[in-house]
Subunit: 190 residues, 4 copies
DNA sequence: AATGAATGAGCCTTCATTCAT
DNA sequence: TATGAATGAAGGCTCATTCAT
């Protein structure tokens, strides 16, 4: 591969996620993805070494996109409850709006496939999180727990609910959303 | 004539989980599973209509086994924090000891495959939970939130951590475990 | 196999023909035939060496049944046109009433399978025919052609029409039937 | 990119007929046909949807080829005995030289498979025949019978003999051939 | 760069047949 | 005798990947 046509890569990525979420991981063949992306299957091999390579890069791509989305542009990272709420809501919005990508990530990281991807991508939170958590702990805003624990306590419940609602078709009202955040917050707040 | 060996189904189930967790959902072929179970692939079709049928039934089987495990033998279901802690620990122990089954369940329920299985199996908590939650809410022990929310707030963080640790190889100390429960409890406690 | 249960063999034969004519030669599996005959597939192997053996014997069985049916009980074999007409009508009636068997025979004898069956069964007419043809030729009733030719000229057209009508659903009226016989007869009459 | 090789379809057709006539309808697997055609089995699926589709199209293809062969180039279709003899001989030559195709057709049209193919292909004579028959009947050259009857009376005997000779290895001398035509002709001549 | 053609390997499933009762 | 259980082999078909243009 020589010249990378980024738009084509994106088309392939989107097609892959669409097919995977429609037909399942197993039902996602290169030809289906190619057809969905409106390119020849052979074309995909100009941009990726093979199917695994494509999935790995798709995972990394969505992972970093999601990581960034937590911290909208000029967000204030002062360690306050308000900061946490903002990030928490951002997270909620992102996975709600990109539920397919999110489910893909979860499935992918549960697979043995994940072993191929570099360790650093196999965490649900990016470095910025670590900084924030450390600062918050130093400021006695939150409990002095492992970052892993903090992260899970704060984000797992809402992530889990969104995923489940995708299947049941339920939705979370704004009121409920705030309540859930307050509950999650209590679990880590000092 | 020979008699159907009931244990054979269990052998097939265990083989399926083993293969799926080793080679991923996609890499799990009937022949691999058959070899792992030490039977002919054709034999599997004596017990199941087809691959999907087998996976569905495996899912239902593990799901109900897990549901039951929460409520060991003659557990006391009085709505107290102690009851919740016992169940929570039971849950932790079960998914720790049966992490492969648990991961299988999670992957399966994220797949479009799940659509085939009856809705009632697609919930992470069994009826007993609902009773307990309702009683606890009536006793003003926990917040008056949806059962879904309660469940996610209480169990998602620890489930998420166990799953992640499977990959990283980390382990949770008894001390940490208690801390995590305390944190989770705070999120729903009244 | 020790004691031959003739009724069971007949049930198997009938089931085989039924399945073959329903699902085609290719779609006729031993288990389907067994189910149709309401016996276990293993049972068939008590009466026949294997599938080919069963088909061979089924072919021979139907073949001789058909051969005999041409010459009803105490039929008069004096070489007259009337004798031929009687036999011809008998033939018509038999293949009409046993169209499935007849089609099975045709298909079977067109297959390489036929090679397994002894030559003597691979003719559409039985020894009695030869006698009759020879006598008729001696009596200058019919042309001095090969028996093969005589047989084909006399019986192929009506056989062909019955077979075709099985598909199209058409039927042949008594009037037409007589006309067809008269035509066929003209082709061999002296 | 490579260009589809039109000859490949013909290679596949010929291979299919060869295998079917060697191993029977049942013994004709896609892989055998592929090997005989010297292509990968997967390649066949580039040209046909599935096995049935291939057989259907092969049937239609051979059927129309045979139909056309009756009426060599600039054949005279004036309703005379001579015209019928020419066509009859053409038919004889075609099925003799293409006996495998012909047997394939017969077997195929006797199978339930035939149901899939459009009705119009399931007749042994093409429209040109109908015209000729009608003209001949109008000219009082042949008897006023159904076209089906005419066709069967004229062509079934010789077709039947050729088929049978394929198995026995017999051959028909030119003399006999003329005799058989004369006989067949008598059956429909006015 | 892009793609339709081509394919060996593998998948799910069924088959004819044998085993054990 | 009769049969459900069991299986190696094979069937139809799809897949990830490469080729040739």
């Amino acid at each position: 591969m020589r010249i990378k046509d980024d738009k084509k890569i994106d088309r392939i990525y989107r097609a892959a996620i669409k097919v995977i979420n429609r037909d399942g991981f197993q039902g996602s063949s290169m030809s289906k993805i190619a057809k969905e992306a409106d390119v020849s299957a052979a074309t995909i091999y100009l941009y990726f070494e093979n199917k695994d390579d494509m999935l790995d890069k798709l995972y990394i791509d969505t992972k970093s996109k999601m990581g960034n989305s937590y911290f909208h542009k000029d967000i204030d990272l002062t360690p306050t409850k308000s900061t946490f709420r903002t990030i928490w809501i951002n997270h909620y919005q992102y996975i709600t709006e990109n539920i397919d990508e999110y489910v893909f990530q979860e499935n992918f990281s549960n697979c043995p496939l994940i072993g191929r991807v570099e360790k650093k991508y196999n965490m649900d939170y990016c470095p910025t999180f670590e900084h924030l958590f450390e600062k918050a702990k130093a400021a006695k805003l939150i409990l002095p727990l492992d970052n892993d624990y903090i992260y899970s306590l704060l984000f797992s419940p809402i992530s889990n609910l969104v995923k489940r609602n995708k299947i049941t078709g339920n939705e979370i009202s704004m009121n409920d959303l705030i309540q859930i955040f307050e509950s999650s917050w209590k679990s880590v707040a000092m």
